[in-house]
């Protein structure tokens, strides 16, 4: 008997349905086992993270406040209150500034440094130095920079030395300077990570096309613009999204460095939400603000997925 005939005989004997049934049974058996393996992770994630998220969404449609227990249904009332709140509007504007700044500065600086340090002698040392701030907790970084920006602190004294007269700027006390000052600290802390990630991306770019372009007489800018940059696109995109999410949800730095700034509650949506919920006891309204933050984060993630797909197709 040849092979095909043998298989056919076997199939006839057992029956295709039976084989499918067996396969399903095996999978069911494996599913039970798989659930045993997955259950700790599933229980934790669903119980401690996902259920609270649903609860938060539900809360945002209630009237819950202060000492009263869970309140009655309030429709979109909490959401309708937002635009009329001056602190919410300021927080929204500041958050937008944060998002813009966290796209531009860490990426520009990180990319610049990556290109600069790439072929430098002793690059390892420089990379480590630039990266170190990233290991520290944002809380500790905030405390350190709080004193750098203090009225008689490092920055004012430094500017005084350079300009030759007394500088007395309250960096963290005035509307005009507080957000830029904290953004500078954020960039100081995160640019190192961006640089390291981009260096990893750069290292993965094949050398051949660059050498070929070199031989064809392309200059360094052209090589960067038409070869390196497109090949770096996937990494760049990933880094940008990480940076946007970090900038959008920044809290610790604002909490520590903005502690004495009268407008602290409007420094960002995340801070505003904390103040509304934990300082004023407006639990339902605070939940609604959290939902808005969540929606924006979901949008950013969605944009990432779409762009990622597009970049993948482009580079393939």
């Amino acid at each position: 008997m040849d092979r095909a005939a043998k298989d056919k005989a076997l199939l006839d004997r057992i029956g295709i349905d039976q084989i499918a049934r067996n396969a399903r049974a095996r999978r069911r058996g494996q599913l039970g086992l798989a659930l045993v393996f997955m259950s700790p992770a599933l229980i934790l994630v669903v119980g401690v993270l996902l259920v609270p998220v649903l609860f938060n969404i539900w809360l945002s449609f209630t009237k819950w406040k202060k000492f009263t227990g869970f309140g009655e249904y309030a429709g979109f009332a909490n959401y309708e209150r937002m635009p009329g709140n001056p602190f919410f509007n300021e927080a929204l504007i500041n958050t937008a500034i944060w998002v813009g700044a966290s796209v531009v500065f860490p990426i520009a600086l990180g990319l610049g440094m990556a290109m600069f340090f790439r072929n430098l002698r002793g690059a390892e040392t420089f990379k480590n130095i630039i990266f170190i701030p990233r290991i520290l907790a944002p809380t500790a970084v905030g405390v350190l920079w709080f004193y750098v920006y203090a009225p008689d602190g490092l920055l004012n004294r430094g500017l005084g030395l350079v300009s030759g007269r007394d500088v007395d700027i309250g960096w963290l006390y005035s509307d005009a300077t507080v957000t830029p000052a904290i953004i500078a600290t954020f960039v100081w802390q995160t640019a190192g990570l961006v640089m390291v990630l981009l260096l990893l991306g750069l290292a993965a770019i094949p050398k051949d096309p660059i050498e070929a372009a070199h031989i064809d007489g392309a200059n360094r800018w052209q090589i960067f613009r038409y070869i390196t940059l497109p090949l770096l696109m996937p990494t760049l995109l990933m880094v940008t999204i990480l940076s946007v999410l970090a900038g959008f949800t920044v809290f610790d730095l604002l909490w520590v460095m903005g502690a004495n700034y009268p407008g602290q509650r409007s420094l960002a949506l995340a801070v505003f939400m904390y103040f509304e919920a934990f300082q004023k006891g407006s639990w339902a309204f605070g939940s609604a603000v959290a939902v808005i933050i969540g929606l924006v984060v979901l949008c950013v993630t969605w944009v990432q997925t779409v762009l990622q797909g597009r970049v993948d197709r482009m580079t393939r």
Partner: protein
């Protein structure tokens, strides 16, 4: 089934009967971390006298503490014994129905002769008293005695004298008043004082919506305040070390609660160098007045059923308790049969007895809690840029918030 139930009942009964024998400890929740050790020393003193230890349980941050208490009450698990704030937020707390009235205890306290009716008033909501004082602090001016002596100055009895003292201090190259925005809550201190001294008739109206934050009284206060800043009367509002600043002489006079006397001495000022006076009125023949901060110590309805909790509370208000607390911190709780905790408190007591000053509730407690944080932030904003331009903006914002709040009520 029956037997089982019976057994279970017996077991529970035994446990209940046995419980007091073990639970000789009462937890006191609070947000005053800087008095942790001192509170515990009172708690240990309580153990010696009554056999019930008060174990203090501090929260590091007031917001988190408030949230914790709110959440506990919302879920029906009110702590047995905890501290709160007087004023509107106190009424709010009592309205939860979870706080035990303490009128019987107050009858005992007043009959014993140590406490006056006036200190009780701070804790009355709808005719019932719901707390005993953790602290009663009059808001006064602490001042640098050696500097006063050096410049030949006297404690001011009138507003004009206060201002001329300030001018003399400025002329000597020093700064008259210490005031910062540190920690975000201090902005109201000078605002309330100027309000009370210049427009006592409008002081209480601020907190029931009848006086506007951009009305003429408030405007007058901001003008005076801005003027004082322009004359160089105030220290740098951005400092983060107020007590150290006082020690270093960054300001000759320090408008603050009496409780700060102990902290300033702790930070290094010799107790003898510290003087005190009550801020004089800015208008002629206004009655003597003083701003009072009362910090309530409350027990829950369940806590009041627990004899250990009540034992601990009785110890707290007793002379031994007041003395232990006074020794540890210099804090006064209104018990006049106990020893005055320090010379500052004794002098303020004497001044108040002499002038029979009326007590006014601190703005911080009197303002509706929903407005508290946002309004004080605006006052801080003014202190950081004390011009009338900022003041106009600050007043407008405060009134917008105030009007919106009262429109909702």
């Amino acid at each position: 089934m029956k037997i089982k139930e019976k057994l279970l009942g017996t077991a529970v009964g035994v446990m209940l009967a046995a419980a007091p024998a073990f639970a000789q400890e009462v937890q006191l929740f609070h947000d005053k971390g800087f008095w942790s050790e001192q509170l515990q020393s009172v708690g240990d003193a309580a153990a010696e006298t009554t056999g019930v230890t008060i174990t203090e349980t501090p929260y590091a941050n007031a917001e988190q503490y408030k949230a914790f208490v709110q959440a506990s009450i919302a879920s029906g698990e009110t702590p047995d014994m905890f501290t709160w704030w007087t004023g509107a937020t106190f009424a709010e707390l009592v309205s939860s129905g979870q706080i035990a009235p303490l009128d019987d205890l107050w009858d005992e306290m007043i009959n014993s002769g140590g406490y006056g009716e006036a200190s009780k008033e701070l804790f009355v909501v709808d005719g019932q008293t719901y707390a005993v004082p953790l602290l009663l602090a009059r808001w006064v001016v602490l001042y640098n005695k050696p500097l006063y002596a050096e410049l030949g100055l006297e404690e001011p009895k009138t507003w004009d004298e206060l201002m001329s003292n300030a001018d003399a201090i400025v002329a000597a190259g020093e700064t008259p008043f210490l005031a910062t925005v540190h920690e975000g809550w201090r902005g109201f201190i000078w605002f309330q004082e100027l309000m009370l001294r210049m427009h006592p008739e409008a002081y209480n109206g601020l907190n029931d919506g009848s006086v506007a934050y951009d009305g003429q009284e408030v405007r007058a206060v901001f003008e005076a305040w801005s003027d004082m800043y322009a004359k160089g009367y105030f220290s740098d509002p951005r400092s983060t070390e107020e007590f150290n600043d006082y020690v270093r002489g960054a300001g000759a006079m320090y408008l603050i609660g009496e409780w700060a006397a102990g902290l300033v001495v702790q930070a290094g000022v010799p107790a003898d160098d510290l003087g005190v006076f009550i801020m004089p009125n800015a208008i002629d023949d206004a009655p003597a007045a003083v701003i009072v901060e009362g910090s309530p110590l409350v027990v829950s309805v369940d806590g009041a059923q627990d004899e250990n909790v009540m034992k601990a509370l009785r110890f707290w208000v007793s002379d031994e308790g007041a003395n232990a607390w006074g020794d540890a911190t210099g804090n006064y709780i209104g018990n006049n049969s106990a020893e005055a905790p320090n010379a500052i408190v004794a002098e303020v007591n004497a001044d108040i007895a002499e002038t029979s000053a009326t007590a006014y509730l601190r703005w911080w407690e009197a303002v509706p809690p929903d407005l508290q944080g946002e309004l004080v932030a605006e006052m801080n904003r003014f202190m950081l840029d004390p011009t009338m331009k900022t003041a106009d903006d600050v007043m407008a914002t405060m009134q917008t918030l105030n009007a919106a709040y009262w429109a909702d009520q």
